[in-house]
């Protein structure tokens, strides 16, 4: 198990994440885990009381979680968004752009490699769920 990587200023959330079914059945949980095939939109009514959403990446090839992350951020979710599972160092920059701000990779990540790859692209073509200004906006103000 790798370390938890966080890109947030607040304290890490302590409460363990419950399954989506458990969350929907138990109205006071504040941390929830979404499997890659589950629909994040069912969480939308509850976003303002959730502190942690953990999105599972069972295999690095399974890219559904990228959409999950963006859907939550685009709906205004402000809490911690964690990518858990087979999360590889070369994927973290993409996940950051999809709104993830913490990572629980199964295998340890080389932090020097990660820092270099997070700093690598100065510009991004498209808008996503991070603050990056898309190139077209830079071109036209």
């Amino acid at each position: 198990m790798g370390d938890l990587l966080r890109y947030r200023d607040d304290e890490a959330h302590e409460e363990p994440a419950v399954t989506l079914d458990a969350f929907l059945g138990q109205s006071n949980a504040t941390a929830v885990r979404i499997e890659s095939g589950e629909d994040a939109r069912v969480l939308l009514p509850y976003l303002d009381r959730i502190a942690l959403v953990e999105v599972s990446f069972p295999k690095f090839r399974d890219g559904r979680g990228y959409s999950t992350g963006r859907i939550l951020r685009e709906a205004g979710y402000q809490g911690e968004l964690r990518a858990q599972g087979d999360v590889l160092v070369d994927q973290i920059p993409l996940m950051r752009r999809c709104g993830f701000d913490s990572f629980a990779p199964e295998a340890p990540v080389d932090e020097a490699v990660l820092a270099a790859s997070l700093a690598r692209y100065e510009f991004h073509y498209q808008a996503a769920a991070d603050p990056a200004v898309p190139v077209w906006k830079r071109r036209h103000g």
């Binding site: 859907i71 752009r97 100065e122 073509y125």
Partner: protein, 543 residues
Amino acid sequence: MYKYDEYDHSIVAARVEEFRDQVNRRLAGQITEDQFKPLRLMNGLYLQLHAYMLRVAVPYGTLDSRQMHMLAHIARKYDRGYGHFTTRQNLQYNWIKLEDAPDILAELATVEMHAIQTSGNCIRNISSDQFAGAAADELTDPRPWAELLRQWSTFHPEFSYLPRKFKICVIAAEEDRAAMRLHDIGIQIVEKDGQLGAAIYVGGGMGRTPMIAPLIKDFVPFDDFVSYLEACLRVYNRYGRRDNMYKARIKILIHELGADKYAAEVEEEFAAVKALGIDPPRAEFDRIAAHFAPPAYDADAPDTLDRSDPDFAVWLDQNVSAHKQPGYAVVTISLKPIGGIPGDATADQIDLMADLAKAHSFDELRVTHAQNIVLPHVRKADLYALWQQLRDAGLAEANLDLISDIIACPGLDYCSLANARSIPLAQKIATRFSDIGRQRELGELKLKISGCINACGHHHAGHIGILGVDRKGVENYQLLLGGSGAEDVSLGTITGPGFSEDGIVDAIEKATNVYLAQREDGERFLDTYRRLGMAPFKEAIYG
């Protein structure tokens, strides 16, 4: 032609550096081959039977002489002195060393080229009409739309780990020269109430389950274009199958869900996505479109031609097409010499084509999905001199769209998935029908060969298609008739039991004899087949 600005340069340079780092980590054993694979694939690096193959992107098939010279240079320096133009308008090198790949990408970057997303489960290089900007029948130049999508799709953070690869094609003419409806998304730029927008077809593809893309939305205005595609992709990313690689293409999702249900899901997603403000403004479209402004044509260029050299006249009739500008013509250079390898060109030939483009075609070339090269804007007055130079370099085969203008996948000579060889069969067929008079008598006849069910050679879309299969360890070929990748798109039907290599050449000859005997005025092979159906062909072939 599109030219990079500081942003484009910066992004491509960062990619070179990123890939160098990934290769170094792989060579140092810090990442496994399994983890490296998707990374190298997203940079066009495949492991083939004998070596690495590097696929270089030629966005919408357009390039200039500087870029073409660079392709020749790389072929000489890092490969074996040739390159292979592909059915998706790219170029492949077959004999690349992993250690060299970062240097190759660095060299490509100096001429605004890259290998980004030429493979892998991401949005691939966008393809388009090879006659864009020149075709007499186009509504508008589709390439600004394609360039907009190139930028949108490059390193798209949400769509880099899709269920499967994703191919998009953009055209803007009624004649479909790019097999638009056999793409995951096919886009036709159309006009409605004086406004340009996109008709969107989703879920086409070849492979083991060929499908023709149905129309999902008849008109998406420019202002919604990127949002709408984002919605199309998001629905696919979320719901496309991931349990079975062979059912993971979007065509299967559309098939299982139904086109209407998919379209409804997209509409719902679009409503959410549209609010995000992710559509580039018109000013960005105009900025891109300015790069594709028509070249400075000579308004006095003579529109007449001296056809007195009969060999030249044949080439003119076969390989030269109408241009929208009087006095100009579109030239297709065939990379299908009889007995050659379809789509291959030597470094010297690549250099020559670059020089000719510089001298005669406003410095522009195109790659076609049929694996030929186009000089899009040639003065009619220059055609004879151009033809003579092509002829001296073995590049003046007058066979565009004839039976020897074959699309063939790499097949067993290069590919680890192959059941059968494709290239030697293409050579055999071309040789059997080498007589140009006979080929022209047969007229337009698109023959396409795949070495296995993956259909890289578009056999489903061939007027005559050939599929290599493995029959008890022996190479065997099935014959298909009646496919088309054009605006009259259709999928071919298997004639019956397969053939040996020589047997299939005989079977093709028999099928063409049925056509010659039974055609009516003006009918192509495909038209006669459609009118008569399979029965007379089957009888001639197996009878």
